[in-house]
């Protein structure tokens, strides 16, 4: 399969490549994977092969990086990935309850995706929001000092946005 990234993604990719000396194109790998994951939703082997071609490196150099860093999805995920911080300070401020509440609300367990493909629930390690716990991240957005009401609102809003498209 011959993947083509959008013009917008390609111009972002070229901008990032420009941050480095021409013989150091590989340095752009992490940001480039973010860009293509945003467009494709996840990093399929075909997407990673295309990245290797663009950066003039071997596919294995992309695979080993994609599987090392926790932000890259090497399997399909829902439209919104809810990443709940479960590390120390969040735990003592109620992360376990937050996770249990979302599991019940969405009817899925950690690691699963809702049947409509809208939400994936994940637990992650410290996101640097310890003073504003409990918290989760969806996309680029941090949601902090969570309460059950806040979680209801966020999920309602994201669900209704999806219906409008």
């Amino acid at each position: 399969m011959n993947i083509q990234f959008s013009q917008e993604s390609m111009s972002e990719i070229n901008k990032v490549i420009g941050h480095f000396p021409p013989i150091r194109k590989k340095s752009a790998l992490l940001p480039v994977l973010h860009i293509v994951q945003k467009e494709s939703g996840w990093l399929s082997p075909e997407v990673m092969d295309k990245v290797a071609e663009i950066l003039e490196i071997k596919p294995i150099e992309v695979y080993e990086v994609a599987t090392f860093y926790s932000m890259y999805h090497t399997k399909p995920v829902g439209k919104h990935v809810i990443e709940v911080c479960q590390t120390g300070p969040c735990m003592i401020c109620g992360a376990d309850k937050t996770i249990a509440y979302i599991e019940t609300k969405l009817g899925i367990k950690v690691g699963e995706t809702t049947a409509d493909g809208l939400f994936t629930l994940k637990t992650v390690e410290c996101l640097g929001a310890c003073g504003y716990a409990p918290m989760f991240q969806i996309g680029e957005q941090y949601y902090e000092n969570l309460t059950e009401e806040k979680i209801d609102d966020i999920i309602r809003q994201l669900s209704s946005n999806a219906n409008n498209i």
């Binding site: 590989k26 992490l30 150099e61 080993e64 120390g88 376990d96 410290c126 310890c130 716990a133």
Partner: protein, 448 residues
Amino acid sequence: MGRKLLLENIEKPDINTIDGYLKYGGYRSLDKVLKGMSPDEVTEEVKTSGLRGRGGAGFSTGLKWTFIDKSTDKPRYLLCNADESEPGTFKDRLLMEKNPHLLIEGMILSSYALGCNTAYIYIRGEYMFILHILERAIQEAYAKGFLGQNINGSGFNLDLYVHPGAGAYICGEETALIESLEGKRGNPRIKPPFPAVSGLWDCPTIVNNVESIAAVVPIIMMGGAEYAKIGIGRSTGTKLISASGNINNPGVYEIEMGVPVEEFIYSDEYCGGIKGGLDIKACVPGGSSVPILPKSLLFKESNGSPRLMTYESLSEGGFQTGSMLGSGGFIVYDKQQCIVRNTWNFARFYHHESCGQCSPCREGTGWMERVLHNIEYGHGKEEDIDLLWDIQRRIEGNTICPLGDAAAWPVAAAIRHFRHEFEYHVKYPHRVKDADHVYQPEMKYQTV
């Protein structure tokens, strides 16, 4: 009220724009440097200031700068470590989010001192929303001529870029950060050679924490000697403390080094006491890696004098009775918190974040996590406590990078100071599932 050097204007709504930053006195340190200071004079001021690495290691920033290899004609690089991932630490985020130009000005000053013409801010991927803030601020700085070619007519050139990581605690270790910036897995390198000699693309490289680089701005403005007057002894200047856990006022506080720990926890100016008026059980004063201190050791040094928020006072007594200032990730535990559960939680974190290069860390962190999980969930045996001690002892000091130590220390300190809680879990497995022990969902154990 202590002096505020980094957070002075943090609440001003327009401080995140270049016009706002200029209005509150921004880029004056740059002006001062470009008009009349040599790179070596800048380095000398930073050395005089006594500034120590704010990422956690506490090594003299100015001294680190003097290690940069000037004997080669290879380009030199300055990398800002904005990978802030140490559990309990969220201070750099505040600086970058609210006052991005402070970091940018610090990067220009530091690059000038080191003779770097290209610099990168390596920011953790989860902070992508802050990356956008920094990029916008960098564009503003280019437009004003503070970045790019011939900055303010000085002949000094600097290009500054922001680079995202992608979720890996290990990339806060400086050689792993360099590997990651080269587009590889974040596997730490064996030192020597140190980055100052052979770092990014084998070129001389300095890696400094966000807060350290930001601190260069007030240091240049007030002079290193003035800065060194703040604080106590070898702990000079101000420090950002990220306060979290069971306290009334969690958040980021800038303190003059030397505030008593007791005051920091109970004063309304800072943490405002323990939530719900409960008693305090313990505190991790410098991020998850540093030893946890029980209440009995937290407020006083061994000679009875008050324990202070300084590098020296927090580590007084070594690991037997002390801890470390570390990154300033200050986590407070009330009397209801379960130390075993917290230790298991941290062990899971380190297991998840181990890069896998060194077997003591790769295997040991997972082993500790499983043993701790067993104890926490009522399946532990008496001998497991000694086993845990043995595992952590064999990890510490036997790995390429300090992640192994960071994983071992919290386990060692928890057993050292709270052995009775471990024994309680082993003796009364049915009781540790009580609701007032700590909230515990029934969960099937899965290793990560």
